[in-house]
Symmetry: D2
Subunit: 359 residues, 4 copies
């Protein structure tokens, strides 16, 4: 018979988002308060297991964090143990440190692991689980591109941040007869762009799933100008691309400067004769206090994940489906992406409202 669960580790991988702390808190409060477990916080994702950096979390550690953005455990995008980059003197070497992860988890006495992450982190988790590391996963992603769950931690807060920015820019665009181009997150999936664009009264929304024709987008802006509304709001997902282009031409400095939106702005100015301004919302979308939806979702996910562990139902990811929390095999969440259906209800709602998707 399997030994009972006594000590659990928890880590957050990849980019941070609002709601991670609420999930950590739920695991700690339910784990210690109800089930008398020990919970170990592992630092900066799987890197903390490679470097054996972990500490016991107390109820005091999670007091007052339900409404804090970020993660008290730290996070990094560079924590893949299968391709871990180590500095040896001046050199950087890539090594497979997955065995180290399992060994350190064992040395730390961890009976199981809760992994909070998106696509990248969950793929790592799935492989480690195949190697024998007992774990369950909690989905988080600003972009909402994980399949298997209707929604992940962080998405709804990011949409509100984007919507509030659009609300703010609306008045200044209108006063100055300008086109405001707002670049939002969404490399493969246009959920943030589409939802915040509908909510924020955008006139044009360009998303990765609908390759755009710049001429079509400009038609909308020109039509508005002719109707006496010489201003427009244009939302551009960072991963949007023109029809027929694998990748849009992007200035080499673009990683820091913001990419596609500047090209779009130039084209719009040229074709419509209207002054245009770009705002790259960037990391603001990761920040801030999670809204109630994400706090509740994260709390439910945390409690549910703990339940899976206590039943030794490993290799699973908690998921939100049909307004219920369920669990699915992690691999279902890493097979493909949850993308906007170009002919689905949400995209067609946008067009019914008169929004151009540039097609």
């Amino acid at each position: 018979m399997a030994a009972s669960i006594k000590r659990i580790g928890i880590l957050t991988g990849g980019g941070d988002c609002p709601g991670l702390n609420a999930a950590i808190r739920a695991v700690v409060k339910a784990g210690i308060g109800i089930h008398r477990l020990e919970i170990y916080g592992i630092e900066t994702g799987f890197e903390g297991l490679i470097k054996k950096q972990a500490r016991p979390l107390t109820l005091e550690d999670v007091r007052g964090i339900v409404n804090k953005g970020g993660t008290i455990l730290g996070a990094t995008r560079h924590h893949n143990p299968f391709q871990y980059q180590e500095k040896i003197g001046e050199e950087t070497r890539t090594a497979d440190r997955s065995r180290t992860v399992l060994q350190h988890a064992s040395e730390l006495g961890l009976d199981a692991l809760v992994v909070l992450g998106g696509d990248g982190t969950l793929t790592i988790a799935e492989r480690l689980w195949q190697m024998g590391l007992p774990l369950v996963a909690i989905p988080k992603t600003i972009d909402n591109d994980l399949p298997g769950t209707d929604v992940s931690i962080g998405f709804n807060t990011a949409v509100i941040t984007a919507m509030e920015a659009l609300d703010k820019l609306h008045t200044t665009a209108e006063s100055h007869h300008r086109v405001m181009i707002v670049e939002l997150m969404g490399n493969k999936a246009g959920w943030i762009g589409l939802e915040s664009g509908i909510a924020g009264g955008a006139d044009v929304i360009l998303i990765p799933e609908v390759p755009f024709n710049i001429e079509k987008a400009c038609e909308k802006i020109i039509e508005r100008k002719q109707r006496g509304q010489p201003f427009s709001m244009v939302v551009v997902s960072e991963g949007a691309r023109a029809i027929g282009h694998e990748e849009v031409y992007v200035d080499p400095r673009s990683r820091r400067l913001g990419g596609i939106s500047h090209n779009v702005a130039e084209e719009i100015e040229r074709r419509t004769g209207l002054e245009s301004r770009v705002l790259v919302l960037g990391h603001l979308q990761r920040g801030g206090s999670p809204i109630s939806f994400d706090r509740v979702l994260a709390s439910r996910f945390g409690v549910h994940a703990l339940g899976l562990i206590l039943q030794r139902d490993f290799g699973k990811m908690v998921a939100f489906r049909k307004a219920e929390v369920i669990s699915i095999p992690i691999r279902e969440a890493t097979a493909g992406l949850n993308l906007v259906d170009p002919n689905g209800d949400l995209a067609l709602t946008a067009e019914a409202l008169g929004i151009s998707l540039g097609r």
Copy 2:
């Protein structure tokens, strides 16, 4: 063959909530902009059809209202045509004016009606539809107590408003070693209380679905005091009641003063020896700009309702299920209420986090 749809009426009944204007806007933008229909705005619910108060809505009328609370059409709780109260001189008489509604709808040339409402309004709509008025419904309710849809317009914004109040009160409760009792909306259903309480770090949550034992609730507060946390946050739904009481004793002035929460406060002070303060959040929960979730939901509902009308698929309510917009017979939404399951996932999540439900 049925004549084609040319003119549609739209009305909002019952209490207002954030998101109504976003739905009205969606119907008008899609109705005029895409389908070249005429849309008539009917004033203050079904009362506008009794009094024949309606006006054509233009695209200009719905400009800039996606982020406005309330309803540009006006709303009232006293618009039931089956029991309509009319003032004749000094006297008030109750009359059945349902025939008048049908007659005026016909005289206004309305081929169909979009009805936004909650439980009460939808029950009226269902009866009128049985009498031959072609209509479709869009669900809205702060309390989220409509069955048949996972969520209705207004709920998620109200939860955020409640959560923000809890966030604000937390620091002052902590600084002053007080018990803060916050009375929230929810006459039959405790959704607002439970979700905002989990999100806002409540220590006790009393909802209608879980009759409470005040002693159990106070145990939690005393336990916190003994652990060196001489302050607590208590959320009370307006419809919460003590075990064994059909209705809690409520001061006759309570309708204006706030009800149950004052009794709860007195009991807590008496049993815990801690100073307690009451805040009745009241109409703040109906107000404000809708969050992105409600703006998008309302937009989708509006477009979908229009689609039903164009297909002459009357007697239906649009609904949000499994993250998709569908339609169901209105009567499914008025048969019973959508209540919190006392032993369901959400209630158990609260208890796993150490929150007392007073049981």
Copy 3:
């Protein structure tokens, strides 16, 4: 020659407000980081000196608190050492414990004290300073009723909270053709009511400094109704009173239930025939994250207070005048109150905008 300053105590007295933590943080950061002093945090106002409850504050203690409401030191209204209420067994006895305060301050090795407080706390501080306790004061009050400074910590955040509530209630009042009565803080001074009322589009504002004639107030509401605006927003300071009444009749339960506003509501309903609703904003006005103005003001006050101490310039209160931080004798701040001038610029601005002050 006087010994140099090495150890400083800091305390917060009276009701809490947003910005206290920002001031504490400034004293600690500048005190430790720049001047290498020790800073002792004293718990719950002067009570902490009676009970000798104090602890050294570290830079770590003040990390991340600039945007937190409340006070990390705790606060209470019952900390007057000249009339201190002590429980001896079942009995409560009032004693003068001011000597104890001086003795404990000496035993704790405090070379000086920073006192954050309003009217009540500053009066205590002035007396203790006369008795030989070296201290400087920082003004804080939601009500902004301290003379000698243009503004105190907490006021501007409270005004925004009140304004946001008015913004939210506006749409629901308009949709339902109701009169919304909002009771705001301000026992002697109507600053919160007047500023948030102007900002939030109130139609009637009743403040303590302008005794009101309910008939005059109702004239405005009736005039609006006749112009086709059958809704109004009425702001009532908790200390507002009718002409000729020393104190308005208030229900004995009023301390908890909210006072004057319910009487006002009844009168308005009776005289205008419009449904009216009351919201008592209460402790929400004390809560929340301070706005930038209060964070900056508190930071400047903290640094300035420390400067006074290092120059041994005791018995002074820092003050904000003409956009500069200065210092004045504490007694100037406790002689009388800073009240709205009924014929001053602010009150006349309100009336020029068509707002009735009920006169």
Copy 4:
């Protein structure tokens, strides 16, 4: 005897900011409601007088705009009648159209003009006043760089927007061990940067008035890293410049991409070895609903400006000094700029809190 004032024009020039509508509303409400004047709204600054585009404003036009950003009159930076750029066919010609302004003002029957503007617009107004156009001015500027008034419309709202962005970015910077560089408005004056930086917990603030040494700035970041805080928040005013540089080298695309902050980011990465990210907050700072401070200030300015006109006290600007609204000759507001004193109280407060100004 001078003819009495009957018709007033009002215009907004330069970039928009929150609070303009509140001022327009105050002039209209007091002008029509109290003084029975006619108020003409002039479109897009002085351009509206060149093109004779103006319309009577009604009480209905200003309903519900007190909390709206932007300006209902429109604004443009290209409205200088002394150097007006006109398109003649394909050509652009610069002409002096100041006589046209006076003539059209006369033809429109305007007895006086209210001009809302910053440095540029007020300079134009002063010249037109010298030529005989009767006018008074109301100061507005995000940057707060107008002398003669303690504060102008728009500044305090912009500071809150910047502070909220810093609050949001803080958690993500901390979670990811990054340096976040936030570029804020402030071409000549660093008020937004300094105030929001103090409020938002910045570690380094670079403003135009204090030419910076990048090495000094990096010392602070490295010191934090060594103390176990491998993340920092850096605020950079758009007009900040390194010591000895008239102008910092800026990429030619910088007008659209954001300027100095990218250079600062590169230097910081190189010198500290920490990953750094840039956010250019841009037009977000102009947008949004004005906070209560700006709504009240704008209302007072509007009413006061009207009073000056009725007394025929032209050529003046209303100003906020020592918490009172006064008036000064416009030329006092256009002689020089209101800059941060590098050795004044605010700058020294920042340094006392441990913030590096890069010197």
